[in-house]
């Protein structure tokens, strides 16, 4: 019997290169489109021209190159990192909680970051304007991690580590509590509502290379750790008890996955604001396309999450130019119908 016909051979030869190509195409597209700058077809030439050793005449002026490299590229790369992280974080959360409705904000990462940022903007407006590091993302990051840590400790102390439903409920309670606190602070400081709101809706549009440098280590480390847990996530699908009898250290796996998914999520939320829908929908799109095994889902959500958010960022800069549509609005507005269509075609083809 030919064992190669089963399992992930299809993935090995097909999905991974295809998703890599999709990432490259999305990056190119993101770099080509924008209200100002050179003609779109000169952009790939300019990028090739700037590769080491290669030199071609792209006909792009230095000023135009500055638009490509300092305005469009950081934004594209940041969108890619944020999309990859939120997607793989969502897939991992869905795995350890065995719940398809879960997103990476479940345990309070987003609500914590939102409260942290709100407090900073409302109570110390303008603080750190001349600091080397912007304190708002830093505080948002710390609040996000703190919120998840409290949720985990509370949930685990009541339900034991083996029941995930207590943890999920603790997360729901924590999110409500943090949101209420944030609303209270906002209500007392209504002059900053607009600023807080624009922070919450996502700030990929103003990305600089500094922002990329800030999140890159977290996204990289988290993605690598989660990637190496893809087989464990598959084992958890048959239930905690059975995974345990198959030799999986269930509690430890869940804790590690939650820690790293949260670390990356907190970092990207702190820098880019709360971009909804990505962490829920991208993993499900991947499952519909490539099957539900986490061996495929984890690497493909990283790649396609990046593609999704890079593409979602494009209409935002075109439709209402020169004003910008927040990326969080686009992800939901474009993502939801697309997802429904995908769901429907999949059901019909079955």
């Amino acid at each position: 019997m030919n064992v190669e016909q089963h399992g992930d051979r299809r993935f090995r030869v097909g999905w991974l290169p295809a998703s890599m190509i999709a990432v490259v195409l999305a990056v190119l597209l993101g770099a080509m489109i924008g209200p100002a700058g050179p003609v779109w077809w000169r952009v790939p030439l300019a990028l090739i021209d700037h590769l080491p050793v290669v030199s071609i005449d792209s006909g792009v002026s230095d000023r135009e190159w500055a638009i490509i490299w300092n305005i469009r590229m950081p934004r594209v790369v940041l969108a890619g990192l944020v999309g990859a992280m939120l997607s793989v974080g969502g897939a991992s959360y869905q795995g350890v909680f065995r719940n398809p409705l879960v997103d990476p904000y479940l345990l309070g990462a987003a609500a914590g970051a939102g409260l942290g940022a709100t407090l900073m903007i409302a109570i110390w407006p303008g603080v750190g304007a001349d600091w080397p590091v912007d304190p708002v993302p830093a505080v948002a990051f710390v609040f996000a991690l703190g919120a998840v840590a409290i949720t985990y400790l509370v949930g685990a102390s009541f339900g034991g580590m083996r029941t995930t439903s207590t943890l999920v409920l603790a997360g729901v309670a924590m999110v409500s509590l943090l949101t209420a606190m944030q609303t209270f602070v906002l209500q007392r400081n209504s002059d900053v509502v607009r600023e807080v709101y624009s922070w919450i809706l996502g700030r990929v549009s103003t990305a600089r290379w500094d922002d990329v440098r800030l999140v890159l280590p977290y996204v990289t480390v988290s993605s690598v750790v989660l990637f190496f847990h893809r087989r464990q996530l598959d084992l958890l699908r048959v239930g905690d008890d059975e995974a345990f009898t198959l030799g999986v250290p269930v509690t430890r796996v869940r804790l590690i996955v939650v820690i790293f998914a949260t670390l990356g999520t907190a970092a990207v939320v702190a820098v880019s604001g709360l971009i909804g829908f990505v962490g829920l929908v991208v993993p499900h799109m991947v499952r519909l396309i490539a099957g539900a095994s986490y061996r495929r889902v984890v690497p493909l959500t990283i790649a396609l999450g990046a593609v999704f958010l890079i593409l979602a960022d494009i209409p935002g800069r075109m439709l209402t130019a020169p004003a910008e549509l927040p990326i969080g609005v686009v992800t939901a507005f474009v993502g939801a119908p697309f997802f429904i269509v995908l769901l429907r075609t999949r059901e019909i083809s079955r």
């Binding site: 399992g7 009898t245 999986v248 099957g291 539900a292 061996r295």
Partner: protein, 260 residues
Amino acid sequence: MSSIEFRDLSVKFGRRTVVHGFTDTVRSGEWLGLIGPNGAGKSSILRAIVGVIASSGEVVVDGASMSLRSRSRRASLVAYVPQDPLLPSDMTGFEYTLLGRAPYVGYFGSESRHDRAMVGDVLDRLELSGFADRKLGQLSGGERQRLVIARALATEAPILLLDEPTSALDIGHQQQALELVARLRNDHGLTVISAMHDLTLAGLYSDRLTLLHEGTVVSSGVPEQVLRAETLAEFYGVRVTVHREPDGTIVVIPRRDALT
């Protein structure tokens, strides 16, 4: 080929003791059937063996206590088929069976060519190759049950624990599943411990039966010793006729008085 010995195994849920000092030795290649009414402690014994629930006392496999063995060694010694296995509907039969190789794969590793070949072989032997690429959600109860057994077999564990393996199956599939286990036991010298509700089937397949009542062993021995009408009446609170077929098969038949 492995024997399993219980030394004063006790299980407590909170303040309630559900298994009282279970002591027994199951010989290598033996099939022990645990019987008893609901809540007698059958499942708890099985779950305590694999460490899913906490217990006191000792479970000794091949001379060494389970609690002293590593997680993956335990998993490669004892395979556990739960009463109500969670079968992800979008997982394929091959992917599911492959999970049985987990005890042999390092934490960050992935299954080797040998593991995949081995799983292909198990599916072949169980005549399940046709389900390798099918999703579990598309399979019938009997087909799924056979895949669960295939996954247990893929662990190559010499001891197989079955918790109500046939409770969800019709009579034909019950027989099919149990015949499969019996055949595998013969071929591989598996030691089997099963918890079963159907007393006739339990008697038919087990070498020895242990009747539990409220966590305590009340009767143990070959099926004809344990399956006696008065014993069952006492501990199950049922009225049954125990009938003995010419070939030695013991049949437990529920009895009903005429309405007056």
